[in-house]
Symmetry: C2
Subunit: 485 residues, 2 copies
C-alpha cells in the first residue's frame, strides 16, 4: 500500500527525516537482531552499483578479490597492542560450536588485518612475491549500543583492501592511490565531494602508523567519515612474522596498507541529496534511472505496447529502466512512491500521448521556476535521456560542493570563534593547532566538534594559520573541525 | 616460486590429488580458524564468474538481492521443529557482545529462513505484496568436524533465495524454475551435467515439504549434491506469522520456497574437469581464458609490444586475457603454472614469431594424437579464439556427460547387484524402491551409497522398475543411488 503521509521535513528534525526516509524509501529496516539492519532490495541495489564501480577501479589498478574467514582466533586480535585496545570493547564472541564450548573463543571479524597478514606470512617468501594486492567484500561486526540505519550498525557490509609491499614508499604510494580512487568515486559517482587529509594521532585507526580519511558534509552540516586508507608500517608484519627475502638477500618485514568503505556510504548518499519528498539518486547509482508509468484508461493494449517499446529503446541507449504497470495502484500513488525512492526521471505514457507521439517527462528535481512536467516528442525524449541523466548527475555534485563551500569557515583563531561558527551552522571550521591531543579534548568538550582531518595540500587554507585555536602555542598543523556522525 | 613437483595422480589417490590441486593451483588454503578456508584470488575469480552468471539469471526472472543479518536469535531457529533438529548440532553460537554476556545468544546463520520470513511477515499484508522474490549472497556457518576445501567447510559462501507466494502452485512453479536455472548453469557454464529430481523424505531439507536436488558425478564416480531448491509449504509461514489478505478478503498463510548453491561448486568444477596436470577450466568460468607468455631473449621491446597488441585485440574480441611478463621465471615454469591453474589457451610470442607474423598456441587439453602446440598466423589466431573457446567449453561438457552416462547402471533389482555395480566402479545405480526409509539405511550400511534422488521425468528409466531393490514389496519410486561427497 502506498504510504501517503509526508516525511518529517529536514529543517524540522533532520534525524527523524533520515530515519523515516530510509524506511519509507525501502532502503533498509530494523531487524530482530539487536543492532543489525536488513538492507532491502532498493538499498541493496544502490550498494551493488557502488560495489561494481569501486570493484572495477580496484581491478584496473591491479587488485584481486579473495575471501578470508569470518571468525578470528582471539589470540590473533590480541597480538597487536593498539589494535586490541581499539577493538576489544566492540567484539562479538563465539564461544560454542557444534554443541560444545570452544577451547579458544573466536571473534567475529571487526576488520581482518590479523588473519589476513597471518596468511600473507605463509604465502610470501621473497621480494618476487610482492606486492600482494588483495581486497575482500565482506560483512563485519562491531558491537554498537547506539545504532542508526546504514550509519552505525553492529553488522555492516564493506570492502577491506589489504596490501603488502617491499618498501615503505611503495606502501605509502598505495595508501594515496586508494585515497584517490575513493575520492573519484565519491565525487563522480556519488556527487558527494569529500575533504581529504590525515587523521590526528588520537583519531587514527587502531594499529596504523597513519590514517588518511575522506570527510563529506551532510545537509545538516555535520561531517561523515566516508572512507579511510591506512599506512600500517610494519606493525602487523612484525606481529605476524610477515617477512621476505629482499633482492639483496636480507630478511625484512613487509610494509602493509589497509583501506575500506562500507554500506555507510548509502547513508551518506541519502543525507547529501535527499529532500523533503524523499531520496534523490545520482543517476550513476540509481537502480532505476527512469521509471515508466503507463496511464491506463480503458483500452490499455496500445499504451502498454508503447511503454514496452520506449523501455526497450531506452535500455538500448544504456539507460536503466523500470516499468511500473502495477494494477490497483493509481498513477499518483506510483509517482509518489518513485519520487520517495529517488528515481531521477519519470516517463508517463497515456492514450493522449500516443495520439501526439509524445511522452510526459517529470524530473525528480525541478530547477526553481521550471515546469514540473514537460511534454516531449517520443524520439527526442529517448535521444536526450542519456544527456539529461548526465546533467542531473553533475547538478547534484555541483550543488553538494557549493553547500560544502558555503558551510566552510577558515582562518578561525580562537575557541570562542570556533564555537560561534559551529553554533551559527558552519560545517567545517579550519583553525591552527599546536599538535597537543589535550586541545582536541578541550574543543570536543566545549563544542562537540572533533578534528575531522589535517587537510591535504589541496584543501589547506591559502594562508597557513600561525596560532593554535586554544590560544596556547603556535600552530604545527591546520585542522578542519566539525560535528560528526 | 614455481612448485615443480607433480601432483599425485587421480588413479593413485583421488582425494590426495584433489587436496594438492586445490592448494597448488592457489584456489584455496587452510586457515588458522578451525574448519574455515581462505579462498585465494584464483579460486575467488572463478566464484565471481559463477556469481555473475547466476545473478543475471535470477534477475532476469524477477528476483532482487537483499541482505539480512548474520546473527539469528536462537529462539527463531528453534521455532520450526524439524529445522532446529536438523541444524542444532552444527550451530556456532555468539554468547558475548561488547564485553558482556548476552541475555539471548545468537546463532551465526546456518541458513536464513527464520530471520527472513520474520521480516516478510512485517512487509507483506495483502496479496498485492506477493510474490516476494529475494536472494542474498552471503556467508553461512555450519560447524563441521571433517572438512574438505570447498566441499565441506564450517564457513562457506553461497546464495540463498527466499520467496513467498499466494498459492501453493505458484510456489511449486518457482521451485522448478530455479531448479531449471541451476541446471542450465551447471550444464552450460560449468560443463557439469547433473541429474535432477526429488530427495527422499529422509534426505530433504530440515523444514521443507519437498526438496529438489541436482546431483553431479565426479571423476571418481562419486556424486556431489550441487544445489537444492525447496518447496517449504506453509511450515515457516505458520511459525513466523507470514500472512496476507487474499483477493477474496481471507487471511491466509503464504507459501515459501528457498534454494541455494555455494562455493562447493568450485570443488565440483575441479573434480569434474581436472586432470593429473592440474585444473582444467571451462572458458566461461576461467578468470583468464588466454594467458600470453612472451619469450624474451635479449631485445625484448618489440616482443612485449606485440604481446600488448595481441592482448588488446583479444580483449576487443571479448576474450579474458592475462599477460605473464614476470621476470626471473622461465617460460617453462610459467607454462607449468598456468596449466596447473587450468587456463584454456596459452599464447607464446617470441622474436621468431615476430618475424613470421605468427604465434604459438597451446591448448590446455590436447585431443589424443593432436600436436601439443600449433603455430598459427597472428590474425587467424585472434579471429579464431572466441570459436576455439566455445569448442573447448562444449568438449568439456560433452566429455562429462559421456562419463556420467558410461558410469550409470539402470534396471538393478537386488542388493547384491547394487553392491556389485558400485564396487565395479558404477556412479549412479537406478533401482526400484518401496518407499520405506529402512531400505535407505540398509543400502547405506551395506554399500555406503545413499539415495541421491528420485529422478525427474527426463532421467527416469524407460521401463519403470517394478520391484524394490530390497526384495521386499513392489516399487513406488525409482531411486538413483550413489556414494557421495
Amino acid at each position: 500500500m502506498a504510504d501517503e503521509k509526508k516525511l518529517t521535513s529536514r529543517s524540522e528534525d533532520f534525524s527523524a527525516w533520515y530515519n523515516e526516509l530510509v524506511q519509507r524509501a525501502e532502503l533498509a529496516d530494523y531487524s530482530p537482531t539487536r543492532g543489525s539492519m536488513v538492507i532491502r532490495p532498493w538499498g541493496y541495489g544502490i550498494w551493488e552499483l557502488m560495489q561494481r564501480a569501486l570493484d572495477d577501479m580496484f581491478k584496473e589498478t591491479g587488485h584481486e578479490n579473495a575471501y578470508f574467514p569470518l571468525l578470528i582466533p582471539m589470540s590473533f586480535i590480541e597480538r597487536e597492542k593498539d589494535h586490541i585496545e581499539g577493538f576489544a570493547p566492540e567484539l562479538a564472541v563465539v564461544t560454542q560450536g557444534g554443541g560444545k564450548e570452544l577451547e579458544e573463543p573466536y571473534a567475529i571479524r571487526p576488520t581482518s588485518e590479523t588473519i589476513i597478514y597471518s596468511m600473507y606470512a605463509k604465502w610470501v617468501q621473497s621480494y618476487r612475491d610482492l606486492p600482494v594486492l588483495m581486497n575482500q567484500w565482506a560483512n563485519v561486526m562491531r558491537w554498537e549500543m547506539r545504532t542508526r540505519l546504514f550509519l552505525r550498525t553492529a553488522e555492516f557490509l564493506w570492502q577491506e583492501g589489504h596490501t603488502a609491499h617491499a618498501t615503505a614508499d611503495e606502501a605509502k604510494e598505495e595508501t594515496l592511490l586508494i585515497l584517490g580512487i575513493y575520492r573519484t568515486f565519491m565525487e563522480e559517482w556519488m556527487g558527494m565531494p569529500p575533504l581529504t587529509g590525515l587523521k590526528t594521532e588520537s583519531e587514527k585507526f587502531a594499529g596504523a602508523v597513519s590514517t588518511y580519511t575522506l570527510e563529506a558534509l551532510m545537509q545538516d552540516n555535520k561531517a561523515l567519515q566516508a572512507g579511510t586508507s591506512h599506512f600500517l608500517g610494519q606493525n602487523f608484519a612484525r606481529q605476524f612474522d610477515l617477512k621476505f627475502q629482499s633482492e639483496e638477500g636480507q630478511e625484512e618485514y613487509a610494509w602493509n596498507t589497509s583501506w575500506g568503505v562500507s554500506t555507510r556510504l548509502v547513508g551518506g548518499l541519502v543525507m547529501t541529496h535527499g529532500d523533503d519528498d524523499g531520496l534523490v539518486l545520482p543517476p550513476r547509482l540509481a537502480p532505476a534511472q527512469v521509471v515508466i508509468v503507463p496511464i491506463l484508461r480503458g483500452d490499455d493494449g496500445p499504451v502498454l505496447e508503447k511503454v514496452d517499446e520506449v523501455a526497450a529503446r531506452l535500455k538500448e541507449a544504456g539507460v536503466r529502466v523500470r516499468i511500473d504497470a502495477r494494477e490497483n495502484l493509481s498513477p499518483g500513488a506510483k509517482y509518489y512512491e518513485w519520487e520517495r525512492k529517488g528515481v531521477p526521471y519519470r516517463v508517463e505514457i497515456g492514450p493522449r500521448d500516443l495520439e501526439k507521439g509524445s511522452v510526459a517527462l517529470a524530473r525528480r528535481l525541478t530547477p526553481e521556476g521550471a515546469k514540473r512536467k514537460e511534454f516531449v516528442p517520443e524520439d527526442q525524449a529517448i535521444a536526450e535521456m542519456p544527456g539529461r541523466l548526465e546533467a542531473f548527475q553533475r547538478e547534484l555534485g555541483t550543488a553538494a560542493l557549493a553547500r560544502r563551500d558555503a558551510a566552510t569557515v577558515r582562518g578561525v583563531e580562537s575557541l570562542e570563534e570556533l564555537e560561534e561558527a559551529l553554533d551559527g551552522g558552519a560545517g567545517f571550521v579550519f583553525t591552527g593547532w599546536n599538535g597537543d591531543p589535550a586541545v582536541e579534548t578541550m574543543v570536543q568538550e566545549r563544542t562537540k566538534a572533533t578534528p575531522r582531518l589535517i587537510p591535504g595540500d589541496e584543501f589547506r587554507s591559502s594562508e597557513a594559520p600561525t596560532k593554535c585555536v586554544s590560544g596556547e602555542g603556535s600552530s604545527v598543523a591546520e585542522v578542519a573541525w566539525a560535528r560528526a556522525y
